[in-house]
């Protein structure tokens, strides 16, 4: 009896499998040792190991005896939860239940930065098209710039499911790397004088409970009438927020924020890993996608900062916007706001940018979902 019969997994192991197992170990290391998005990167890392051991029963295999496919549990999860978009949409309910929109009511004009900082998505999409990707793949790569994992998963699973693994890894890794990616880009684009700008905001303004309850309903109806294709994304986010704000579903709100979020995140992470097989992942494409994801994040930051500088051309002295705050228009919440506040304090310990940064960051959460909805609406019209 030879090695192939005794230990078929070893006999069938290739260097590509070993590379993917190493990638899995690196993701687990980043999650545990560096605390980079551990809730997602750890299941993804472990899943990458699970699916890259040859003949793994976690994924679908062909039974050599009968020639029939024996379905693996991760493929069943994938078909039920990702292909149908159920998992990412449930995550949106959880995120909606976690978001407090009252900072936006205090500084509603900062909502526009949630639009400007999505610039990287569209820029990257054009760049990906220049590199030869078709419009569906280019849009899926560009959406990494939303800095919003569930939106990236929804768009990629619909337009380019073969790229889902690489896009998810890129999206979640860069979200975790916001403190490393954003500061040098911001410093490059701003002068010290600009970084010292202090912003006044009405932090003590009280917001009516009725307005906070009406907000998710009104936004859902408005978005639905204009772009029905965006309703799944925006609607589930706003549904989660309504549960939070209505005041009569506190138990459900807490369950959405904790149990639902944790459970679906585990399933989402390990299921995405089912796409991280050596055959799909160990390719030049993966490196290009990860590189383009970084490009998208850099140009999101660029878009937000430059938009703030543009607005400052028309604003009077004393009423200017600190351009660093523009960079918070991405969806990585609250990390981006925290990074900007810390950068502001480094320049001037008495400059408190946290409140405007939080308002902008909440706007970024809405902006990224809207960007996903727009892409889901436009791309099928062309492809």
């Amino acid at each position: 009896m030879g090695l192939a019969e005794l230990m078929p997994a070893i006999a069938e192991m290739t260097w590509q499998h070993l590379v993917m197992i190493t990638v899995g170990l690196i993701l687990i290391y980043l999650a545990i040792a560096k605390n980079y998005e551990p809730t997602l990167l750890l299941p993804m890392g472990f899943g990458a190991i699970l699916v890259n051991i040859p003949l793994s029963s976690a994924i679908t295999q062909i039974d050599p005896g009968t020639g029939k496919a024996v379905e693996g549990v991760l493929n069943i999860f994938f078909d039920a939860g990702i292909a149908t978009e159920v998992f990412p949409l449930l995550i949106f309910v959880a995120i909606g239940a976690m978001i407090d929109f009252s900072p936006l009511f205090r500084n509603p004009s900062l909502l526009l930065f949630g639009a400007a900082a999505q610039f990287g998505i569209f820029m990257t999409m054009v760049f990906a098209a220049l590199l030869g990707y078709d419009i569906r793949e280019a849009a899926s790569i560009g959406i990494i710039g939303a800095a919003d994992g569930p939106t990236s998963i929804v768009v990629a699973s619909r337009f380019a499911p073969h790229m889902l693994g690489a896009i998810s890894v890129a999206a979640y890794s860069y979200m975790a790397l916001v403190p490393i990616i954003q500061p040098p880009v911001i410093k490059l684009l701003t002068t010290r004088k600009e970084r010292l700008i202090r912003m006044s905001s009405d932090n003590n303004k009280r917001i009516s409970k009725k307005a906070l309850i009406a907000f998710p309903i009104v936004i859902t109806i408005a978005a639905g009438i204009i772009a029905p294709s965006s309703l799944a994304l925006i609607g589930f986010l706003m549904f989660g927020n309504l549960i939070r704000e209505c005041g009569v579903l506190n138990k459900l709100s807490l369950a959405a924020q904790n149990e639902l979020s944790s459970l679906v995140t585990i399933l989402l992470g390990i299921t995405i890993a089912s796409t991280m097989t050596a055959e799909r992942f160990v390719r030049l494409d993966t490196l290009i996608i990860i590189g383009l994801g970084l490009f998208a994040f850099v140009f999101d930051t660029f878009g937000g900062v430059i938009f703030a500088k543009f607005l400052n051309l028309f604003r009077k002295e004393g009423n200017k916007i600190n351009p660093m705050v523009g960079a918070c228009g991405i969806s990585a919440f609250p990390m981006s706001a925290r990074v900007i506040h810390q950068m502001g304090q480094k320049e001037d310990p008495y400059n408190y940018l946290l409140m405007p940064a939080i308002s902008t960051n909440v706007g970024g959460q809405i902006g990224s979902v809207v960007a996903g909805g727009i892409i889901l609406t436009l791309v099928p019209l062309l492809a």
């Binding site: 509603p108 526009l112 820029m123 419009i135 303004k205 907000f215 408005a222």
Partner: protein, 47 residues
Amino acid sequence: MTTTIQQALFVAGVGIVGIFAFMTLFYLLIKALDRLLPYDEEKEEEE
């Protein structure tokens, strides 16, 4: 210029304009909600 690049430029152009339009609409809705449903200390405490 290939069709894909033209399509990408179209989606980028309409997308950027679209997202600003959406966010401007949301801004106006927030302003309207804030005006129609202002914070009323006595009523909020009753509720």
